[in-house]
Assembly symmetry: C2
Homo-oligomer: 450 residues x 2
């Protein structure tokens, strides 16, 4: 059949449940540990921080499917199904025999895939009768998504925004405020951990790990609040599986078998969600795929990190997680634009990488923006810097296909739009963007001791 | 049938031609006049400024259909069909018996419907072998759209951006630059007319009329360049009819008969495009509809302007057009946010309004942003300030239906997103937004003498 430029899954094909890839993993990700006892965390311990239904999802390694609750499915209809786009224009511009597809998650006001999990987490918070939730945001996409979700369910929303993003993206803050959220630059003086970090690192531009600590502390110290997280956790990858499930069904309807599936990787939620059902096929021996995680050279947790137990947050208040990590004190250079600045990686992605199920590569920032600009001009969508890591790798794979003459099917996740990243684009347009690659010594100094 | 939340027209139902509503108007809009001779302009005269194919479209009042060229139809597939959304969440929040639909044109990087005409105009410029085009932009949507279209066809693009928007929206400029356009704040010192206006009105924040003059002058004085315009002209309304044609077909497929059709009105292109085929039905006596043009109280050309021949631009270099106008020297208050700041109105819309085919109303800025925020929180899309004028009217109509218990079908044009309008949203969020309504004396002072 002729592949349309954009394919929207028919309503009757929409997934009714999220897929838990851990159910198909023979060797499971290592359990979260209580930082005090170094024992596996219990549901009871996690429920002090997270909603109980989300704790269930976090800890369940065997149940393959979780039904999507009605109100969440209802909200999904606002922006889902997202289109699976055949990148005809990009293929033509590259002169590649490869067929390139991207799953575009940016057609909603949060500007990214983050809304998929935000609405689920807000729903469970509402169900539990909470007043509100706290969270951190880096590039601002997660905070925006959560603000939208909280507005929908009438929940209060307190966002700690990594200071450098807060300053680079004043308009993100206003979107969140328009949805009724309060936004605080992190590290702030509102929490104990924020004051401590400010004292130890005066003038710091912040990090996701630090913002997480502040949000967790605020949740614990405010009655009726829980903490929610936009990436890294197994529950988030579960919700994000909607991306992969739609993609899988769409490709089947179109009669297309993917060869390579590519996603950018910060905390791992978009990549984990996109590839989950395909990884399931691979683990069950039903089909083979190459999976490529693409990360910034300035924050290379998979390609240059250590697979070890580490803290998820700078303040060391969260459970320990076994993951590829640069060390919870690692803070990427201020020259690094946008997201993908987390020091670690989802334990699921980490374990799959360790097992050799997925590959990883790192790419330089200027190469990423070059790909972003090329993509914008050919495909008509101005991509988020994060998503552009996947574009870079997809273009490189398409070029490889051109050299070898192979007509492969390349699928990548276009997680979002760059409309709030124009400070970074401006630096690129002005030729003022630099590449920063941490030295081995710098990485060794930050690496976890465990 | 059950109406889906979002409806995308199937590929086979996509319009193959644009609709020229003038063909169905018994009394046609008055002709454009040459400002020197006060005679009807000839094609030859217009071709000094515009591409010849576009001149044909501008002057043809009888041909009802113009085929959409292949490459334009091809480009349309990147972002069309746009969804027709049933506003279930908004209806529920309002408790109205009315059924509300909106045609959402914001799911593309230009953020608005403007891309529909930009790609057509760039195509004809390319076809004619031009080097590039010049234009003006107010809120920045048109300039962005044209930049994208020019990047696609490899044309140079010179944009004069109304100074207050240039300052309020630095990121818009970067989007245009990312697509390879040059962007100059207007009035500039690069043109004779710009220097004159700067000398006469030091510190002016600019106007669309003034930016038009600069763009026209630049086109005339640069070999291989023509001027293109994003609204007002009959050719632009022709291209924008794609919005209405898709809407008409979608409603037919869904078995829905609209009662009220609402659009915001600045120059009139989105409104004109949305309502064109429905106006055709009304003029041919096939169906009846109410049409509502919604304009800002701070720039009320239809509701408080004069129906007279006037200049389209402050510099008085363009043809005279008979239209509802506040006078070509009218510049809206600096407190007016975003677009819809043109002193006049499309001659087609003006004539339809004069004939009583369409209604008009003006709305206050703070009421518009209140509607915008309400819409964002219920429907999940952060709307452009311009589009929010239509939202305001749609909500007011839905409230009327609630009072009267009438189950009417309300359709409005959601022309774009507000991601680059966060300065205005910030003013609203901070309670610092003001309403400015010109006095009768101010309007009289600016009114055309003719």
């Amino acid at each position: 059949m002729e592949i349309p430029y954009k394919y929207y899954l028919p309503a009757e094909d929409m997934p009714a449940a999220w897929y838990n890839v851990r159910a198909d993993m023979k060797k499971k990700p290592a359990p979260l540990l209580n930082p005090a006892t170094r024992q596996s965390v219990t549901a009871e311990e996690l429920e002090k921080v997270f909603c109980s239904e989300l704790v269930k999802q976090e800890l369940d390694e065997t149940l393959p499917w979780f039904e999507i609750p009605g109100p969440v499915a209802d909200f999904y209809r606002m922006f889902r199904p997202s289109p699976l786009v055949r990148a005809y224009f990009l293929e033509r511009a590259l002169g590649t025999p490869a067929h390139i597809y991207y799953k575009f998650e940016g057609n909603n006001t949060s500007g990214s895939h983050k809304l998929n999990s935000a609405i689920a987490q807000a729903y469970y918070a509402k169900l539990e009768g909470l007043k509100g939730v706290t969270t951190e945001t880096g590039a601002g996409q997660w905070g925006t998504a959560l603000s939208m979700a909280c507005a929908f369910f009438g929940l209060d929303c307190k966002v700690f925004m990594v200071k450098c993003s807060y300053e680079q993206k004043p308009f993100r803050r206003e979107v969140m405020r328009t949805y009724g959220a309060s936004v605080t630059p992190s590290p702030s003086m509102e929490t104990e951990v924020g004051r401590k970090i400010n004292a130890e690192h005066p003038g710091t531009t912040g990090s996701l790990g630090c913002a997480i600590s502040e949000a967790v502390e605020t949740a614990i110290t405010h009655e009726g609040y829980r903490y929610v997280l936009g990436s890294v956790l197994a529950q988030v990858l579960l919700h994000q599986s909607i991306i992969g499930l739609e993609t899988q069904k769409a490709l089947r309807n179109l009669g297309v078998k993917a060869d390579v599936i590519i996603g950018c990787a910060g905390g791992g939620s978009n990549l984990g969600g996109l590839i989950a059902p395909f990884v399931g096929e691979k683990l069950r021996g039903e089909a083979d795929y190459r999976f490529i995680a693409v990360e910034p050279a300035s924050c290379p947790s998979l390609t240059r990190g250590k697979y070890a137990y580490d803290f998820c947050d700078t303040g060391k208040v969260c459970p320990l997680q076994k993951m590829y990590t640069l060390g919870c004190d690692f803070i990427p250079s201020a020259s690094h634009a946008g997201g993908l600045r987390y020091h670690g990686m989802s334990s699921i992605i980490s374990e799959l990488y360790d097992q050799g199920v997925i590959e990883a590569r790192s790419v330089r920032q200027t190469d990423v923006f070059e790909a972003a600009q090329f993509f914008a001009r050919t495909e008509g969508i101005l991509p988020a810097p994060e998503s552009s890591h996947a574009i870079r790798a997809a273009i490189d794979e398409a070029k490889r296909c051109k050299e070898t003459g192979r007509e492969e099917n390349i699928v990548f996740g276009l997680t979002g739009t760059g409309y709030f990243d124009m400070t970074a684009y401006q630096a690129f347009n002005d030729g003022k963007m630099s590449d920063y690659i941490p030295t081995d010594e710098e990485l060794a100094a930050a690496a976890p001791r465990g």
